[in-house]
Amino acid sequence: MSDPILAVENLTVRFPGPHGPVAAVRGVSFTLGRERVGIVGESGSGKSMTGRSILRIAPRTAEVRATRIAFHGEDLLAASEKRMRAIRGRRISMILQDPRFSLNPVMRVGDQVAESFRVHHPGRRAQARDRALDMLSQVRIREPKRVYDLYPHEVSGGMGQRIMIAMMLVPEPEVLIADEPTSALDVTVRTQVLAILDDLVTQRGLGLVFVSHDLNLVATFCDRVLVMYAGRIVEECRAADLARAAHPYTRGLLAAMPRLDAPRERLAVLQRDPAWLTA
C-alpha cells in the first residue's frame, strides 16, 4: 500500500445524553492511501459520524476525541479553524447523502458548482463556468448547458446527487469522503457514477472513503472494507474477501441479504450478540 494520506487513530465521538454521555464512535483507527476504503454498517453504527469527525463538521454537541487524525502528517484536531477552511473542500471533500438538503434551493445548480471552484481558485469567473460545465458532463449529465441554469427543485433526486458530486470534485481534492453517494441513484446510473470515482482513484491518486450500508456494492467497488457495529470496527478485510468474513455480525448481514444469484426460501435473521459491543 502507498504511504497513508490520512491516518485516524483511536477516534471517539460522544454525545451528551440524559443518562450520561452516549458514544457514537468508540475507538476507531484506520489509514487511507490512494485507494478505495469502504465503511459499512447499519444505521447508527457510527459510519457517517466517523467521516464527519475527520472534517471537523460533527454537530456542535458532539465531543470528538482521537489520539491523532493526521492528514499528510498534519494533525487536523489541532489545526486552526482558518487552516481547516483551507483544507475542507479543497483537499479533503465530502459528498453527503441527500441532495435535497445539501444544495442551495435559491441558487442555480451550475453556479453552485462554479462557486465551489471559485472559492478555492479566486478570480476567473468565466473559467469557473467552463470548469463547472465540464464537471457536469463528466458526471454524465446529458445537457450541461441547460442543466446549469436549473434550480435544485427542477432536477430529479438522481440528478441532484450527481450535481453534488460534481460540486465536490471540481476543486480536485486529494481525499474524498463519500457518505452514501449513490443511494438516490438508480442502479444503472450508479454504476456510471462509480466509474467516475474509480477513475479518479486509479488515475489521479484520489483517496476515497466510501461510506455505505450496501455490502454487496462495497465488496465489488472498494479495495478494503471496514465493518462497523455500534461505533466500533468489528472487522477489516480486503473487499474481495468480504464473502469469507469471519465476524458473526458481517456474516449475519451477508446472510440477511436477498440475492438474485442465490435464492433461498427464508432470509436469515440477524441475532445480535451483546458480546459484539465489547469484542
Partner: protein, 270 residues
Amino acid sequence: MSATPEIAVRNLRVSFGAGEARVAAVDDVSFEVMPGESHGLVGESGCGKSTILRAICGLNARWDGAIFVAGEKLAPRRSLALHRKVQMVFQDPYASLHPRHTVDTILHEPLAIHRLGDVNRRINDALDQVGLGRAFRFRFPHQLSGGQRQRVAIARAIILEPRILLLDEPTSALDVSIQAEVLNLLADLRRERGLTCLLVSHDLGVVAHMCERVGVMRSGRLLKETRVDALRAGAVAHEYTRRFIEASAGYDRAMVHAWAARDPQMENPT
C-alpha cells in the same frame, strides 16, 4: 388460461401536467396477476411503477385504460367493499403513520371506516400476526423503530383481511437485517392468507426473493415480463433489462465499457 386474473391492467395510461409540460408517467401498460401469485415491478425512480399501484388502489383517480380487480372493473368511484379487498403498504414508515396517533388509533381507523365490529379482538390479532404483540398497542410511532413502524403499516393493511396487497418499496427505508425480518413476515402472511401481491421495488434482489414473475419498467413503459428463474439464468434479451441485472450485482469497471460498446445509444441517462 382458465382462472380469471386477480389483477388485470389493460392499456393503462396515466399522465401528469397539461400542454407542453404533459408527462406520460405510465404509458400503455398491460399485465395480469393470477390469484395467489406475487408479481413484481422493478425499475428506476420515476419509471412509473408506483403510479401504477396508486391507480390500482384508487389514490389516483385520473387514468385511461382498464383495471380489473377481483373480477370487478374499476371505475373512478369505488364501493367500500372493493377498497377492503385491496390494501397498500407504503415505502416510508416514517411518513405513512400519523405522528400524533397511537398504534391503536391507527389500526382502529380502517375498522371504523369499514364499520367492522369486534374491534378489540381484530386489533390484537393484527398486532400478534405482524409479530409486534399487544404491548405495542398504545405506543406512538416515534416510540417505535423503523422496522416496527413498517410492521404497524402492514398490520393496518391486513386488519381488513384484504385479498390483494399492494407493496410500494416496503423495505427500502430499512436496514438489511430489518429488511430480512419484514420480508419474512410478508412471505408468511402471503402463504397463510393466500394473498395476491403486487410488489414495487428498485431492488432486484428483493423482487426476485418475493415474486414469481417480474416486469421491468422504464420511462413509463413495461419493457418485458419475465419469470424470476429466467432472470436468474440471465435469459433476457432486452439491453436495458440486462444492464439492470448486471448493475444490481455490484460494481464492475469492465461492465461500463461493455455497455458503451454494446449500445452507445443508451449512454448518458437523463
